[in-house]
């Protein structure tokens, strides 16, 4: 009897962009309950690694999500990704984003959960507004609420703490920790100095496209 497949298994991942090696022989594994913080200086390849992991960048090597290739439909139904620059529909309100997200992922509870997160982030009174008028931090909160509200087994977040106020940072850290405690795996990037004090996470350090143990 084989063990349950890992939420994320990356073996010898290599990415070359315009002939330049950006990631080289990156290998790591996330187990259920893991909260992993990917750190590294600017330009180290953190965002590139995340995009390659979810299949948005051409890459070489092996990336499996719950034992399935990362681009497969079954893998895509197991993870959610939030980029560093929130990708939102400017002509939809916050409430409409939450509902659309829940229906597209086929997870009815995600609508209520996302609204709960938005309420916790202090955006309850602005649910019927367009995100285009909101600040960077507020847009980030919406993107995070949509991702966290889905409660998928694997959550991948690029620079999720950027632009958030202190209270929201603590709230997000607690939420990510709770995801890990509930058996979900979380992979996020960040480079704030005080991040490791609020988030208890396994540290993965990326330097010049290579992962250091």
């Amino acid at each position: 009897m084989s063990a349950d497949p890992a939420p994320l298994n990356v073996v010898d991942l290599r990415v070359r962009l315009a002939g330049v090696s950006v990631l080289d022989e990156v290998t790591f594994r996330l187990a259920a309950g893991d909260v992993a913080l990917l750190v590294g200086p600017n330009g180290a390849g953190k965002s590139t690694l995340l995009r390659a992991v979810i299949g948005l960048l051409p890459s070489h090597g092996e990336v499996e999500i719950f034992g399935r290739p990362n681009r497969s439909m079954s893998a895509r139904s197991k993870f959610v990704f939030s980029p560093d620059d929130p990708a939102l529909y400017e002509d939809l309100t916050l409430r409409e984003h939450a509902r659309l997200n829940a229906v597209l992922y086929g997870r009815p509870d995600a609508d209520a959960h996302a609204l709960e997160w938005l309420g916790a982030f202090g955006l309850e009174a602005r649910l019927d507004e367009y995100p285009g008028t909101h600040s960077r931090g507020m847009r980030q909160k919406l993107a995070l609420a949509l991702a966290l509200g889905l409660e998928l087994p694997l959550t991948i977040l690029d620079e999720p703490f950027n632009g958030l106020d202190i209270a929201s940072q603590e709230l997000l850290a607690a939420g990510l920790q709770a995801r890990g405690a509930a058996g979900g795996a979380v992979l996020l990037t960040g480079h704030q100095r005080d991040l490791e004090s609020v988030l208890e996470a396994r540290r993965l350090e990326l330097v010049d496209g290579t992962l250091r143990a």
Binding site: T93, R95, V103
Partner: protein, 488 residues
């Protein structure tokens, strides 16, 4: 600090001009331009020499000329709520907040726009000066400078109305003053009908006072809403530029994709409702709804929040497309018009044949893309392509098929024509959505619409060529089935 602004302008403007000079030299060639200008001059001179005075001069142009000037100045009233001149985001934050008089920051842009307007006015005036002796038997040597100066005066007026709105300067006061100066003896209009140099006095005085007033309006502070409106107008300009570039690349209806954001920005510009929240919404799909319903809701919401004139245009096009599809059917003339009354049958023969099917398919594709809603990049979402296609196509199919049914009822269609029309419509919509998504170009592109129309009309073309047009309906149904099974 003012010297700093001048330094920046010299550096950036000088660099841009050098880059432009180099680009023109490489892309076109300066000798080519000189050659073309020489020919242009020759053509202009030749054209002027062909002008011969009329047998009798055209009479009574003065009221019309006064009317044109009055309309030009009255239009200032419409433009009073937005600045006629803005700073881009970079200048706004780098220079607009610097401790320098606002005039020193805005002067370059003001002069550039004023010079452009003046040049345009001089050109129009030169054309007038060339034509006036032939048409009115009048020499008008001062028309060119006067029209140039009047355009600059109108520009100054627009700025002053905007800048001093808060302190009680009313747009109609300025518009009235401009109108009076146009109509009085030796006013603006008389410059286009006489040779007296006195006509230069009014425009010179007005422009001098206007520029001085603009300068004094920017001596200390920016107008109250200038910064926020500049930011919005900068975004709108960037959006328009992107739409222009998208249009040049073939994405004709890119404007529609950005429509929601544009409406929101316009509302923000004029501080009207709709800037922060939508003024019209449809009921949300339930949380247990199938995925395709989310796509259908997205497409319908996009249409529902569009301006009324766009809604009317889209629905009219859908009605027309449905009607034409009912008339031709896949066989071309096998639909309603091919089987109905003689008067209509004549039209049927006119529109008959595979080309008619192709024309109907193109119209269905154009109408359909306006109802497909925004493009949707599935990306990493766990959404199957069939759900996306079904959801996006459903509203367009419903609207066009409804129009088709209505046309069939009106023209007394046989069931065969009705079904063949529906098959044609569905084939076109499915292909345009699937091809647009698969190619990444989007359904709004002409390429996707042409592919859809050609493919949908293929059975009619091929079977007509083989002399078996009666098989077209069956072939169309087969094609529809094949297309619906392709998951891209």
């Amino acid at each position: 600090m003012t010297a700093g602004v001048a330094y920046l302008r010299r550096r950036t403007v000088g660099r841009a001009m050098r880059a432009y000079r180099d680009w023109v030299g490489r892309a076109v060639g300066w000798w080519t331009i000189v050659y073309l200008i020489a020919w242009l001059v020759i053509f202009v001179i030749a054209g002027l020499e062909t002008l011969t005075p009329l047998a009798a001069p055209l009479g009574g142009p003065r009221p019309y000329l006064v009317g044109v000037f009055v309309v030009a100045f009255m239009s200032v009233i419409l433009a009073r709520r937005a600045p006629p001149l803005i700073l881009d985001r970079r200048d706004l934050f780098r220079l607009g907040l610097a401790p320098v008089p606002p005039w020193s920051v805005l002067r370059w842009r003001f002069m550039l726009k004023a010079a452009g307007l003046c040049a345009a006015g001089v050109f129009v005036g030169l054309v007038w000066t060339a034509l006036a002796p032939a048409l009115f038997w009048q020499a008008t040597p001062f028309a060119a400078p006067v029209i140039g100066l009047v355009l600059v005066a109108r520009f100054c007026a627009a700025w002053l109305v905007y800048a001093y709105r808060a302190v009680g300067l009313r747009a109609w006061h300025v518009a009235l003053l401009g109108s009076v100066l146009s109509a009085v003896p030796y006013g603006f209009a008389d410059a286009l009908l006489g040779a007296s140099p006195v006509v230069l006095v009014a425009p010179i005085v007005v422009v001098t006072l206007g520029v001085a007033s603009v300068r004094s309006s920017l001596a200390e502070e920016w107008p109250p809403r200038f910064a926020s409106q500049s930011l919005v107008l900068t975004q709108l300009q960037a959006m328009r530029l992107m739409q222009l570039m998208a249009g040049m690349a073939g994405f004709i209806r890119q404007a529609a994709a950005d429509g929601g954001e544009r409406r929101r920005l316009l509302a923000a510009l004029y501080d009207t409702p709709g800037a922060t929240r939508p003024s019209r919404s449809l009921p949300l799909p339930t949380v247990e709804a199938p995925v395709w319903r989310a796509f259908a809701w997205r497409a319908l919401t996009h249409f529902w929040r569009a301006p009324w004139w766009r809604q009317v245009t889209t629905l009219s096009l859908a009605l027309l497309a449905g009607g034409l599809a009912a008339m031709v059917g896949p066989g071309g003339g096998a639909g309603a018009l091919g089987t109905a009354q003689p008067s209509v049958g004549a039209l049927g023969s006119l529109f008959g044949g595979p080309l008619a099917v192709f024309a109907a398919a193109i119209l269905v594709a154009r109408a359909g893309t306006a109802l497909l809603g925004p493009e949707f990049a599935v990306g990493v979402l766990p959404v199957d392509p069939y759900s996306r296609t079904l959801g996006r196509v459903a509203p367009a199919a419903a609207a066009i098929v409804f129009a088709l049914l209505a046309a069939s009822v009106l023209f007394g269609d046989a069931a065969g024509g009705l079904f063949s029309g529906v098959a044609l419509v569905l084939t076109v919509l499915l292909v345009v959505e699937k091809y647009g998504s698969w190619s990444g170009a989007g359904a709004a592109r002409w390429e996707a619409q042409l592919v859809a129309a050609l493919l949908a009309a293929l059975p009619a073309f091929v079977l007509a060529a083989f002399g078996v047009p009666g098989w077209t309906f069956g072939a169309q149904i087969g094609l529809l089935l094949v297309v619906s099974l392709i998951g891209v």
